[in-house]
Symmetry: C2
Subunit: 218 residues, 2 copies
């Protein structure tokens, strides 16, 4: 069975099913997470090289965290909403608009069966000087391969992932991230992907996934 | 040439050279980044399931980000300090105390030539329900293998990384992350590592690194 057998035929233009990735809203927790991303970047830009009173910054952030945590549902209740309906694509550390760790990457399903997105990464994702951390590339690709499986119609959990680093991946430039399911054999799914900059591949990924899912909290 | 030839002999107890990983300070930008981590977690716990005015939270965070950015050095100047002296281990997305994306993981060099650290991950690092995202495990391991190379005396850039996922890696439980350089052949470095929970391996990593470094901004 090949990926082609699973590939839905999207309408023009390229479809983006709600369950593939979530679109960030300009309100609610998405807006707060977007501002938190700006803050993470600003802290790195500042370091201890400004006259800002960092104790005061810490105090303000702690107060906000306390306020949010006090009003938040308990972790078990929250796990249920995270794994219900469209919640499933809202909290992950790659595409999740609610997760300030996520750049976030937005992926769209394509007619050829692949998924693709563009993202520009800054200081928080740095490995070598001016370059994306190799582990961040692995994070983006692992997730993208998982979304490619979802788009192809059969997804699962990563069993093995191999990354090849062909050249440094630049910060501050648009990166194209792609994934594509290439074969399904019983429960074994083979999926590939890459990160490119300026039309040149920087990192490739090859993944073996097993078609099973952990139970969702309920 | 094996790793043993590079391994420094640390004094008891386990040594932690300043350049291996940085110790988070309870002040300055480290304290602000620690508070930002609490905030990232709190936003995910809250989601859109509280009566908190998220527009107001976003406004406060944007104001802090604006204030920090205005007073921060220019990006080129900041890159220089990031890559000078002990700065090199302060900003990365795995161990960096200045980076709110980093858990942060603290790694210590050990007498047997390996590096090891313990970390507990929460909501921001979730992949499958209640489990660490496979890509986050890859991020932690890529970095840990790099630090293991540093500890062994010869480090470089990741050329190839293979991850094997043996069982789900739990959130909310202490994880042991280890890395160890196993061989050096010219510029080719082989390094392995793993993430364990409760004494059982969850993820293993095998990396090929090339002994070269990108120039540091100056």
């Amino acid at each position: 069975m090949t990926a082609e057998h699973h590939t839905p035929v999207p309408s023009e233009p390229v479809a983006r099913p709600e369950a593939l990735v979530s679109t960030a809203r300009d309100e609610g927790v998405d807006a707060a997470a977007a501002a938190a991303r700006r803050l993470i970047d600003a802290l790195l830009r500042a370091g201890d090289h400004t006259d800002t009173d960092m104790a005061d910054v810490a105090k303000q952030l702690d107060a906000l965290a306390d306020q949010l945590t006090e009003r938040a549902p308990g972790p078990e209740d929250r796990l249920v909403t995270m794994w219900q309906g469209s919640g499933i694509t809202r909290h992950d550390p790659v595409t999740g608009p609610e997760n300030a760790i996520a750049p976030p990457l937005t992926l769209a399903g394509r007619e050829d069966g692949s998924v693709q997105g563009t993202v520009t990464l800054g200081f928080p994702y740095q490995g070598p000087p001016r370059c994306v951390h190799g582990g961040v590339s692995a994070l983006l690709l692992d997730h993208t391969l998982g979304v490619a499986n979802h788009w192809a119609g059969l997804s699962g959990m990563t069993a093995e992932l191999t990354l090849r680093y062909l050249r440094p991946t630049p910060l501050f430039e648009p990166l194209t991230v792609t994934g594509r399911q290439i074969s399904v054999d019983g429960k074994k799914i083979q999926t590939i992907g890459s990160i490119s900059a300026g039309g040149r591949e920087c990192v490739t990924a090859q993944g073996l996934f097993i078609a099973k899912q952990l139970p969702r909290p309920s």
